[in-house]
Symmetry: D3
């Protein structure tokens, strides 16, 4: 179905394999999912994407599960089927309960609806929502 081959370990080059090893080590699983195997034909893109993902999704001011739910919200709005599947699975692995999933769905649906209304009516932004401008 892909427009590029999903490379097996045997088909991947040395640079890509090194990233696969890092994925396996950090995720403590032998399984490397299709997304990374699809990127493996371009090891520089694979490396840049994987490394940035590690930085961004690491625990910080936001909880890792919250980050996964934000990721799902973006993926749903973009209509990225692969991303919805993989990040819903990741959120579940990080403890998302069915009740949390249900509320996530409801917020995404609500936001999609009011986004459409605000855009359809071209509602002008209230002054109180604007930041103080600096150098702008």
């Amino acid at each position: 179905m892909a427009v590029v081959p999903i490379l097996s370990d045997e088909e991947a080059g040395a640079e890509a394999l090194a990233i696969f090893d890092d994925i396996r080590a950090r995720r403590q699983t032998d399984y490397v999912n299709h997304f990374w195997r699809a990127l493996a034909a371009d090891p520089a893109l694979l490396k840049a994407t994987w490394e940035r993902l590690q930085q961004v999704m690491a625990p910080g001011a936001l909880d890792p599960l919250v980050k996964e739910m934000i990721y799902i919200a973006v993926s749903v709005t973009n209509g990225c089927s692969y991303c919805i599947h993989s990040h819903t699975a990741a959120a579940q692995a990080k403890g998302m309960t069915p009740a949390q999933h249900g509320e996530l769905m409801a917020v995404i649906a609500m936001a999609s609806q009011t986004n459409a209304l605000a855009t359809a009516l071209q509602v002008p932004v209230d002054e109180r929502f604007l930041a103080e401008e600096g150098a702008g």
Copy 2:
């Protein structure tokens, strides 16, 4: 700028004013923002939207601030300028710190990027990400 008038209290009908009163009471402010005033020409739509929003954004399995950040993620991906402004303000009012805002931005940017890659390469979904099917 809007394609409909942003109704003042004097211009709004009785049904819309009743919703404005509810907005004021629940939000403990005298200010009714443009979105609701733009909907006021259609009181049934105003009422349905406001009431559903109250249900969806109420505390539940997810924290209200988390819900606001999910709302922002959807609004950014949809490119809804009004919604980004109003829900960023709402998240800040609920305590979102600059560090949390920064991480929210980073997750949204990361997801937008990997969404594009997964879509561009048409990566097939890994079987392990699929739910067990029931009646399907």
Copy 3:
């Protein structure tokens, strides 16, 4: 393929089953389609979505078939495969002819094209297209 189970009648809870019964009664068919079965794990979301849909799609100032065609236009633009299939089927059930479908396609294609051009050129809105502002 779904990220949640598509619940059969046996798997659905009592609250969800009551909605399934309402769907069957109003649509005069025994068939309950996947969308509702996917929502059934969260009966509150199922109920709110179904009830609002009934209100919105009821005959009113717009013809029900016109409403279905508007629904298709939104679904195409959002790239929602499920929704395109189900609402095209619904429009056909409400009498959409091949000629009407063809014109619907042509309008959607035309709008997609001029939307892209207006956005690409960042054309400023003509003053005569703006509503008189009220409280704004």
Copy 4:
């Protein structure tokens, strides 16, 4: 605000002026809106876009007002501010009542919401919604 000049009659070339004349004649107004003036720097694109628009929006199996509402639905979903303004004005000029506008808003909001849910849950298409396949 545009990334290209909005050409006045004096600035436009002969080919573009001929299209402006056709716009004036068919629309029975002296006013040529910004969209066409923004395209005027590329007369071939201006001509192809204007001529195709005339064909597509002409009365046919669908009513011209219905076509405008479908155009609005696409424009809202694409977030094209210019297009929302110009086609809402066009629909009003063709007789769209406030009640029809309100229902149009409600259908667009409803579709946006269920699109998000069907996509978020990755609901598989029901077999009965699929067309009989021919040469496929």
Copy 5:
């Protein structure tokens, strides 16, 4: 999977067959792909789309391969699976190398990411990026 039949040569009408013949002649292949067969039920739409495509994709100020890569970028951002597949194949047929494909992916991913950030932060446009306004 389609919502309309994918017409074989036997099922297509005379007007559609004439377009199929033109596709075969210009592309120097006997194969007519599904997109055109799906449009064949509406010969006027088929004809208008095919003829405009020929004009737009012809060699001009931009190289045909560059045009295909721009087409891919739009299709990825719109999430059009069919279009991503067909135009990636077309770009490869026109000589796109794996290295060029990799860089195309990287630019699309980068743009998706900074688009999200600029939108999320609602960054105001710098004055120096605006065109001189003419008649606007």
Copy 6:
């Protein structure tokens, strides 16, 4: 208009200023545009975004002007007003002629149109467009 301050040099911290200096050096201009000043409140995000942009947009298998046009195509489809303005200006600075801009517009408009049609009709992908699958 932004939801965050657009930081002046005086308001930016030392880490952000170091990136501003790098922007000035590489672009050989004293001007730092709003996008970077909006990111400056989060120096880690500013740094990661700027550095990755340099890598991605550097000359390689694709010409820098081609990369800018691909960037514009993504930005138009995402409706990112800021990005359309800044990358159109960048493309013009790299030598994009009005004729090239016109063809870019025409390709984006054409792709938007056929994307909508392929999605609306849910055209199934032709087998010949699929890559050979490897480990998938």
